[in-house]
């Protein structure tokens, strides 16, 4: 039994109200534009003061209105973040544009069945 590889939850609008409702837990998230194109895959690690909530609040402050997001609470936030980046790279041939600006030091290759 393996975990779901891709994050395919419905998108939510990135607003102050939605971000406020998020748990303060560790996990990963995706930010997309209004059409659903993934712009960024992020992690809410243990240095995030309020986990996913504060990460998404920072994203909102930085990006302003008009974006969408989805999150996954996950204690294995770090390896799950690497996984989502690799899967995105496999599916789209490149990292999401905002990850490509500052990619992780080493990223592997996946070829999901």
């Amino acid at each position: 039994m393996s975990m779901r590889l891709r994050l395919d939850k419905p998108w939510k609008p990135l607003t102050a109200e939605e971000a406020e409702r998020l748990p303060g837990q560790l996990g990963i998230y995706q930010i997309a534009d209004a059409t659903g194109t993934v712009l960024y895959i992020g992690e809410a690690g243990a240095r995030s003061p309020f986990g996913l909530r504060s990460e998404l609040q920072s994203q909102l402050a930085e990006r302003g209105a008009g974006c969408q997001f989805r999150v996954e609470v996950n204690q294995q936030y770090r390896s799950r973040w690497f996984e989502l980046l690799m899967v995105h790279q496999h599916d789209h041939g490149a990292l999401p544009p905002d990850n490509a600006k500052n990619p992780p030091p080493v990223l592997g290759r996946l070829s999901p069945a």
Binding site: Y77, R80, E83, M86, L107, S111
Partner: protein, 388 residues
């Protein structure tokens, strides 16, 4: 056997200890608590330092440019290198270099040119592909990946699981069954380039080690030439077994290093923290936990150095390596657990490294041969070979 470090060993120990405390721990404090990698610029700078210390590539044999440090000293240094948050699995974030996989030193000249030397130069990374979905503790029977003769080479079909670094490696050492009728005498070791058609890294396997993942591999009509056989056909099990035995000694050393670090934290906390008007250190319940920590650490260190000393002398050390791995992984787990208990609520948080050590140390009782297999190996020895 006298395990008191010599003057020269103590000098090296002090040098590595300073490196961990002055270089690694301050950088680590800025990283995510589950991180396993430094920023590339920091990594490069620290590699230059370990090279200047004459300790880079510490596990590389002298004839291949290693610093010629015996295994007992390497164990003493490995204990030091593990004493930081990421130290159990990524001692000093790899800044002391690695030898790659020991088996590659057994390769023929052509294979050494293509794999060993590029690995030693840091140009190629590798993985070790042994465990399969059918099992890992009993590779002689569990290996179901098949390699069949075709067109002056071999076609591999099958799967591997819990394989570290396969997604980042340029090649790996993969064990496959080449004769279904011969049990352990029907396994061959192959060197597989990761860009070979038919080689796939299918998924990430998430574990307690949130910092690092394993992968699942698939071989689908993956053809390799005869030049990719490492050693002899049908003699791959000895290659795997040798590696598993040797690996148990440094594996034990890492557990001891983390146990020492946890224990030192617990001692400091016990001297500082008061409850009901009394320092924790004055309470018998806490004292006994600290005493048990001390005993677990000393026991594991003794057996690990004993195994290393036998290996250094060229004597059989299979049983000693098993005892070392067993006492260090089980004792280390107990030490971290008690140290968390002494720290109370703080011990459960990601503010301290204890929770990461707790999760990662749990894996050590399974990785590189579970405790039960170590006990089986030791039982065979003390009860005689008729149990095999």
């Amino acid at each position: 056997m006298d395990f008191e470090p010599s003057e020269e060993q103590q000098m090296l120990i002090d040098q590595v200890r300073r490196f961990v405390r002055e270089e690694i721990i301050p950088l680590e404090a800025k990283l995510d608590p589950d991180a396993s990698e430094l920023e590339p610029a920091d990594h490069k700078r620290l590699v230059e330092k370990t090279k200047a210390m004459g300790l880079f590539g510490i596990d590389i044999p002298k004839e291949y440019g290693g610093p010629d440090i015996d295994i007992v000293t390497r164990v003493l240094l490995a204990i030091e290198m593990a004493q930081h948050r990421a130290g159990l699995y990524v001692p000093c974030y790899g800044t002391f270099g690695g030898a790659g996989l020991a088996q590659i030193f057994e390769a023929n000249d052509d294979q050494k040119e293509r794999y060993l030397y590029p690995t030693l130069r840091g140009e190629k990374k590798t993985f070790f592909g042994l465990t399969e979905p059918s099992g890992g503790s009993d590779p002689a029977r569990a290996i179901q990946t098949k390699a069949e003769r075709k067109d002056n080479g071999w076609v591999l079909n099958g799967a591997k699981i819990f394989i570290s670094n396969a997604d980042r490696a340029q090649y790996g050492i993969v064990f496959a069954r080449t004769d279904a009728s011969k049990g352990r005498a029907g396994i061959t070791c192959f060197i597989i380039d990761t860009d070979t058609p038919g080689f796939h890294v299918r998924r990430v396997v998430h574990t307690l080690r949130s910092s690092h993942y394993a992968t699942e591999l698939e071989f689908k009509d993956c053809w390799v030439s005869d030049h990719q056989v490492l050693g002899e056909v049908n003699k791959g099990f000895a290659v795997a077994n040798d590696r598993l035995t040797r690996q148990r000694i440094p594996y034990a050393a890492g557990c001891i290093g983390v146990a020492i670090a946890a224990h030192e934290m617990a001692i400091e906390w016990a001297k500082m923290r008061s409850t009901f008007g009394e320092k924790l250190a004055n309470r018998q319940a806490v004292q006994w936990m600290l005493v048990d920590n001390e005993i677990d650490i000393r026991t594991a260190k003794h057996f690990t150095l004993e195994a290393a000393e036998k290996a250094r002398r060229g004597l059989p050390f299979r049983v000693e390596a098993g005892i070392a791995k067993l006492t260090a992984s089980e004792g280390g787990g107990r030490v971290v657990d008690r140290s968390m208990q002494i720290h109370g609520g703080m011990g459960m948080t990601k503010d301290l490294p204890l929770e990461r050590w707790y999760r990662e140390m749990r894996i050590r009782r399974v990785g590189e041969g579970p405790s039960e297999v170590q006990r089986m190996v030791i039982a065979r020895e003390i009860l005689g070979s008729n149990l095999r």
